[in-house]
């Protein structure tokens, strides 16, 4: 037996045993260099279609790692779907869109650094995305400082388009005050006058609670008490057991795993039988329904987007979007989740940018003010670009208003019970651009 394994007879064929001449070396080297060069020179798919047209660079900020990674990856699908569709149909003003994706690790400091990288290093023309509100708020000054339009895709915090609004930032989807305006008459007139609000005790939950307190009262109802539950509480029973007294309905402001924990806790304590259960649509996103099962039956919520093909979402536009989103989502999650509002809002955010660029003749960052003026007050109609429905991007605060769906859960599925037109969701602007 040989001392070294590669001296064994069976291993002989595995090793180069010929003579390496200078000629052979040069031939092999040039072949390798040629192959490498050919790979580099092969145009990207969009280059083949657009020739030498300079692409619009769109910076996309999403949390692709860290605590919000799952949501960030889903949101990115919406952006990619829209860009693929735009590039396939000839681009914008004859120019393709090139995405520059940055992962901000679910951290505000990284988000800010990545935002600076996008505007300073990558020199993007516009930006899109965002997911966590605290990161959005941390990044807004960067886009303002570098005079770059940022079309936010997900961030929900009310202050983004109120007290901390920016001329360079747009939110092309709804916010809590508009949802509260939309659902409060339904809650008070069709479900009950007296309400108890349970909410996640941090910035988003608190601002959403305040919006519902105001609107339920305005609609003629009464909020008898509120209960705050810290974010990330896994056992909510100690908090939920204190929810007692005389009221008609329990309104929950939760999302994700917190929504599942809360619903499970109130179901186990029998509160869903004793009181009517309603809440923010984030409690009953399609991704949460399998985990909630029977416990969420009869829940009434509000959402801007539902993954159903019932009227009025039985349009060919929505069918097309729905099918494409299901296919795209299956690539990142083999369980095949249905699209959610994050896919929808990022898809439509890109299309808002497309329309703004077309309308303003935007060439690059030097035309940012023209783009802002084109987007301000923009009215869009339901169609392939906006499968969710008509929208108004209000000039005063860059906040969009759109139709809302009041739904219930029946048989583990969303069922639309009422559609609130966008005109009935308006909430006065509270923004002063500096």
């Amino acid at each position: 037996m040989a001392e070294r394994w590669h001296d064994e007879a069976w291993a002989k064929d595995m090793w180069w045993s010929g003579k390496t001449t200078r000629r052979k070396f040069l031939a092999l080297s040039s072949t390798a260099a040629g192959a490498l060069g050919a790979t580099v020179l092969v145009p990207a798919p969009w280059r083949e279609a657009f020739g030498q047209a300079k692409p619009y660079k769109v910076g996309v900020l999403q949390p692709l790692s860290g605590t919000a990674a799952a949501g960030g990856k889903t949101a990115l699908v919406g952006t990619q779907m829209a860009v693929e569709r735009i590039n396939q149909s000839g681009g914008v003003n004859g120019r393709p869109i090139e995405l520059v994706v940055a992962d901000y690790e679910s951290k505000p400091d990284v988000g800010r650094r990545k935002a600076e990288k996008l505007v300073l290093e990558d020199k993007v023309d516009v930006a899109e995305g965002g997911y966590l509100s605290n990161v959005c708020l941390a990044c807004m000054p960067v886009f303002e400082e570098h005079r770059t339009v940022w079309m936010i895709g997900v961030c929900l915090d009310t202050t983004i388009t109120t007290t901390k609004c920016s001329r360079f930032v747009f939110r092309p989807f709804d916010y809590a005050p508009a949802q509260a305006v939309a659902i409060s008459p339904y809650l008070v007139n069709k479900m009950g006058k007296k309400w108890h609000i349970a909410y996640l005790d941090y910035a988003w939950g608190q601002s959403t609670r305040d919006a519902y307190l105001q609107q339920i009262k305005k609609a003629g109802g009464e909020v008898v008490e509120t209960t705050g539950i810290p974010l990330g509480t896994s056992d909510m029973a100690p908090f939920v057991s204190k929810i007692t007294g005389s009221f008609d309905g329990l309104f929950g402001i939760f999302f994700g795993a917190n929504g599942i924990n809360f619903t499970s806790a109130i179901y186990d304590l029998g509160l869903t039988k004793k009181y009517k259960y309603a809440g923010d649509g984030a409690i009953a996103e399609s991704t949460s329904l399998p985990a909630l099962g029977q416990k969420i039956e009869g829940f009434v919520g509000i959402n801007r987007y539902l993954p159903v093909l019932d009227p009025p979402l039985n349009t060919p536009h929505h069918k097309k979007f729905f099918d494409q989103a299901v296919t795209a989502l299956k690539k990142i999650d083999p369980s095949g989740p249905l699209p959610d509002r994050y896919v929808q809002s990022n898809f439509e955010a890109m299309n808002f940018l497309k329309l703004g660029i077309q309308k303003s003749g935007f060439r690059g960052r030097e035309d940012t003010m023209k783009l802002i003026e084109a987007l301000e007050g923009m009215e869009v109609k339901e169609g392939d670009d906006f499968p969710q429905g008509d929208k108004t991007l209000r000039k005063e605060d860059h906040q969009a208003f759109l139709r809302e769906f009041i739904f219930t859960i029946q048989g583990g599925k969303h069922k639309i019970v009422e559609v609130v037109p966008k005109e009935k969701t308006f909430f006065p602007p509270a923004c002063k651009f500096v």
């Binding site: 290093e121 605290n134 000054p141």
Partner: protein
């Protein structure tokens, strides 16, 4: 033939100061030659390096591993934010003062209780304190802005009665560099003083230090306070650079990163943590550009390799020379 006299070796102190001057000059020139993004990145490295150095007072010199530095750093940020949001016009001096007072007060509180414990118990108690501060800041939305934090504008660089101007990225870098250099020289002086020797004695053999008559608890309390103050100072600088304060910086994960900076750079060297912060941040930035969300895998592998093959860190081999 007459033998040539041997060249006189450069005294270690002279070599040290020459090296120090070269590094400082390079850091002064850096913002003038770097592109805007890397300019800002260099400033950020200095800030994180200062935080890591503050932690080195405890980890490297006193032998106490703290997971509470995120609290001091975060409170420095919130202290500065309070000054900048409540006092008109925003004052740089007050931002520094408020930040240092907030971090210092928290350090006194943590030090009083945590220094009664040793080793892993000390580490856990500092972690618990940082989480208490985190929960308070995260939920007290009316005052701290909750999850969203506080945003504010940058104050002007002012010399009262003489001069006042807005910060540019270059002047801000120089301002941070000046603060960091002064802090480093001060901490170096402290660690080489008799007080610093006692800290190192505690690290080497706490019962013997106590036996020869030193009040170990008092020394530990002062060490935590000093460390907390410099951590708070780095928090103020970070807030001034980014114009926001957020609860994420109070979360214990930041303390974990600071420990990593120390391990990578070399504990007990003061300059090692700066090298560790620079190495880690540059590596993270570089890897994340090519591997997007998968960058953590190679980063973790590199960290493990460093622990196995370079246990003293990048500058650990200089430890003795840097401390003489």
């Amino acid at each position: 033939m007459t033998a040539m006299p041997a060249a006189r070796p450069t005294p270690p102190a002279t070599a040290y100061w020459i090296g120090f001057a070269v590094v400082v000059v390079l850091l002064i020139v850096a913002p003038l030659v770097l592109p805007p993004f890397w300019q800002r990145f260099a400033t950020e490295i200095l800030v994180w390096g200062l935080l890591a150095m503050s932690s080195d007072i405890l980890i490297g010199y006193t032998g106490m591993v703290s997971f509470g530095h995120s609290a001091f750093f975060g409170l420095g940020m919130y202290g500065a934010a309070t000054a900048l949001l409540t006092v008109k016009p925003p004052s740089l001096g007050l931002a520094l003062l408020y930040g240092l007072v907030a971090a210092g007060a928290a350090a006194v509180f943590v030090a009083y209780f945590a220094t009664r414990l040793r080793d892993i118990y000390f580490a856990i108690s500092t972690l618990v304190f940082s989480q208490i501060f985190y929960v308070i800041i995260f939920t007290w939305t009316e005052v701290t802005g909750g999850e969203n934090g506080l945003t504010f504008s940058q104050p002007r660089l002012t010399i009262p009665g003489i001069w006042s101007d807005r910060f540019t990225p270059v002047t801000f870098h120089w301002f941070v560099l000046a603060v960091v250099v002064l802090s480093y020289l001060l901490v170096r002086r402290i660690t080489q003083s008799p007080f610093g020797m006692v800290l190192q004695s505690i690290r080497e053999n706490e019962p013997r230090t106590r036996a020869i008559g030193y009040h170990v608890e008092r020394y530990k309390i002062v060490a935590v306070m000093l460390s907390g103050l410099f951590a708070g100072l780095s928090g103020v600088l970070y807030a001034l650079q980014n114009k926001f304060a957020a609860p994420d910086f109070v979360f214990f994960v930041v303390s974990g990163e600071v420990v990593i900076f120390n391990v990578m750079g070399g504990m007990g060297t003061l300059v090692g943590p700066f090298a560790g912060a620079a190495f880690f941040l540059l590596l993270r930035e570089g890897l994340s550009r090519f591997l997007t969300e998968y960058y953590l895998i190679p980063l973790g592998i590199i960290f493990i390799i460093m622990i196995i093959f370079l246990p003293q860190g990048l500058l650990g081999f200089l430890r003795r020379r840097l401390n003489t």
